[in-house]
Amino acid sequence: MNLSLTRIAVVCVTTALPAICQDLVAVKAKTIHTISGPSVEDGVILLQNGRIKAIGKQSDVEIPWSAKVIDASDKVVMPTWVIAHSSGGMRGSNESMQNVPWLSVADAVDPGSTFFEGMRRNGVGTIHTMPGNNTLMGGNGMVLRPAGRTIEDMTVADNTGLKLSLLASNGSRLQKVREMRRAIADVREYLADYNRQKDEFEKEKAAGSIAEDKEWEKEIDRKKQAAVDLIEKKLKGWLYVPSFAELGEALRLSQELDLNFVLGNNLDEALPMLRRLKQPVVLTANLEYFETDPETREEEQFCSAKMLADAGVPFALSLGDGPSANPWWQLGTCVRNGVSRQQALESLTMIPAKMIGLEDQVGSLSEGKLGNLQILTGDPLDATTWVEMVVLEGELVYERSKDPRLQYLFEAAEEAAAPQESQKEEGK
């Protein structure tokens, strides 16, 4: 994966100007969930220039007098969530043509989308944005932070991987598999042809039929570059596998390409194959599904997270619409189905961070990592917990008390709490 950590580069540049940018933020917390290590009670996290400088007990870490203090002494502080695969916040996530590996999500992301507002509200700090599933080779992805007015502001990393999909939107599964094979073969043929031409050029040059000072100038077709990188394993592919039926083909593809899987539902029929998965996978937002036995009409409920946990395959969770837009709901669904609390927490932090190659930056709290924190009113798995504040790279990007949409949705209750005589009169 070609990571150009532009955002992080910006942070590094600022360290060169200590007098101006010596931003110190201290967050005091009742409980700090570091995720990677034990939780800290009555702790403090010291952020400097957007990175974690120190983390520990309030009695052990000295807060410099110049630090801006966020007092969350009665609250829970933990890393912001990391989403390994999402197609939210884009205006049109798939081109109507299926084979478009040269596209990038950068041109579709709308920084003003309510999607990113919702992500901040839910404590998400890192999103790997990818083209949608209705594609064959859909284009390149980016890692974004859900704050900023332009795509440049939001960028954490770009050129993060090529979206591939086996979703048979029109036509049969086999047809889709054939199209994928054809597309990959086309790129291989193109590359073989390109290399052959280049070899011939060099040979002719060596033989003297081409002038000494002439260099090989032909570049790889821009429209083919991402796909060429994919087959040369310089770029990761993110393959959407809609159901168990495509898993076999997905495993075969993964032998020749460097792939991450995004798995849909109905995985119960592919349990033996699931055990063959070696690296972590992304699960789509809907974690539970029912299957009815065609003979007995008996229904059985399955949970894809639990199946993967049992198969020993690490997974990253996605967020969806409705209740599954809430991280606590997704975590609760995992725990309800028998996944351990720690594994559930890791599947929205460390595992996705690892999948997008940023495990040394985000997904857990330790010295040197990015200062991406969320401050919660209570336990992250509790339904009554709200995200109070979100800090990204030391910068406060969300405060619940200043969230106009939440205020709008709750003002009914506040109006009712305060008796309103004027309204009654109007009613008459």
């Binding site: 309800r336 009554t384 949705l409």
Partner: protein
């Protein structure tokens, strides 16, 4: 206190009596949220003959009784969904021969083997109030039914529990004459506007009033039409009217019509209830909130032009307006317990949230003498949860109806 002790000792006596019949089970060491009162810890529930015979912290396990240890578990009454949509197709839940069909019974369309009942049981719902669909102006009679039973008749808790009246766009939604259609065509028979819908309600109640006057004046003229008879019961306050109304406009209309004809109504799916809180309070209307979870932060879940808000449940609670939480017709509904959980997230106290899916709907439907709370003499409908039921990780591990296990997970 004395009365409480008396009840207890009486129940213990009953319990030991029943123990002889070999079907006594004691559920011990449980945290019990009995419905309508604070929680008990380390409580014991004794069940015999499909009924609760004793419950409390000082209840002894009768001799010979089977014992189920419920340490670390929470027991609640079986949940009651006061607006449950079974897996009946729209065609089967909405009679199309007439727009006003108060005398039809949804019970006749119900299949006890309906998979939605099975899912409801799995999620701890032991009783459902099922109403006809929302595509008729007056759809028919709703019934209160347990979600499990060998015999459909035995499942019925209350046969004619309500009559459904529908405001808003749904009764007129599909009633457009096909291009070139004639006005007298059967496809053009029903109202096509809100005006038409409300007129159909008025006309039906005028007919009912007239019928009442006629029978009072001259009883020999024979019984009125069956549908009209149902509406006279509403006017006499003998049958609960449930009016489905979502937007502020439809809520006001529902209250206006009820006031006009002098009956009380329950308002179903009242998404905009917070806007007419004072009016609801003035008419002591009870509100059913369908799938409050569907009110997403991005402002989704609106139906019929309503503007649902997350703060609605809390607003109604603060105003002292009686309400119950249901799943309703919202396609984005969640299992009932999760709807209560979202209500708790949106500011409702945990006990209130749980009461809104147990004792409150039981009272509303007039079946609280049998279900909705855990007390001696009540039906043994209860759920053993893996942890506090309002926790997103909670599982309805065992569900009992009339003392019989109807769902087991783990």
């Amino acid at each position: 206190m004395i009365r409480h002790l008396l009840t207890c000792s009486f129940s213990v006596a009953l319990a030991s009596l029943a123990a002889a019949q070999q079907d006594v089970t004691a559920y011990t060491n449980a945290r019990v949220l009995a419905g309508g009162r604070p929680s008990m810890t380390n409580a014991t529930i004794v069940v015999a003959g499909g009924k609760i015979v004793a419950i409390g912290t000082d209840v002894a396990v009768p001799e010979g009784a089977g014992v189920v240890d419920c340490t670390d578990k929470t027991i609640t009454p079986g949940l009651i969904d006061a607006s449950f949509v079974p897996g009946i197709s729209d065609n089967d839940a909405n009679e199309q021969s007439d727009e006003v069909t108060p005398h039809l019974r949804i019970l006749d369309s119900l299949d006890p083997e309906d998979p939605t009942f099975r899912r409801a049981r799995r999620d701890g719902v032991t009783t459902a109030h099922v109403m006809p669909g929302t595509q008729n102006v007056i759809g028919g009679l709703g019934c209160v039914i347990k979600t499990h039973g060998d015999d459909p008749d035995a499942m019925v808790v209350k046969q004619d529990a309500s009559v459904r009246i529908v405001m808003g766009s749904e009764p007129s939604m599909r009633n457009r004459a096909p291009r070139g259609g004639r006005v007298e065509s059967m496809y053009y028979r029903r109202p096509t506007t809100r005006m038409g819908v409300i007129w159909a309600v008025r006309r039906a109640f005028y007919d009912a009033q007239e019928a009442m006057q006629k029978t009072q004046g001259a009883p020999d003229q024979g019984a009125p039409a069956p549908g009209i008879e149902v509406l006279t019961r509403v006017l006499q306050g003998k049958l609960t009217a449930v009016t489905t109304a979502r937007s502020e406009q439809d809520l006001r209309t529902a209250l206006r019509i009820a006031g006009e004809f002098g009956y009380q109504t329950v308002i179903d799916e009242a998404q905009d209830a917070y806007m007419v809180a004072d009016e609801l309070a003035a008419q002591s209307a009870v509100v059913m909130l369908g799938a409050p979870s569907a009110t997403s932060v991005s402002g989704g879940g609106s139906r019929d032009g309503a503007a649902p808000r997350s703060g609605t449940v809390r607003a109604l609670a603060d105003k002292g307006i009686k309400f119950v939480i249901t799943t309703g017709t919202n396609t984005r509904r969640l299992p009932l317990i999760r709807e209560a959980m979202f209500a708790a997230r949106n500011g409702l106290g945990p006990q209130q949230a749980l009461d809104a899916i147990t004792i409150e709907p039981a009272k509303l439907l007039g079946v609280d003498d049998r279900i909705g709370s855990l007390a001696a003499g009540k039906d043994a409908d209860f759920v053993i949860w893996s942890q506090d039921p309002l926790d997103p990780a909670a599982v309805a591990e065992s569900v009992y109806i009339d003392g019989k296990s109807v769902s087991q997970i783990r």
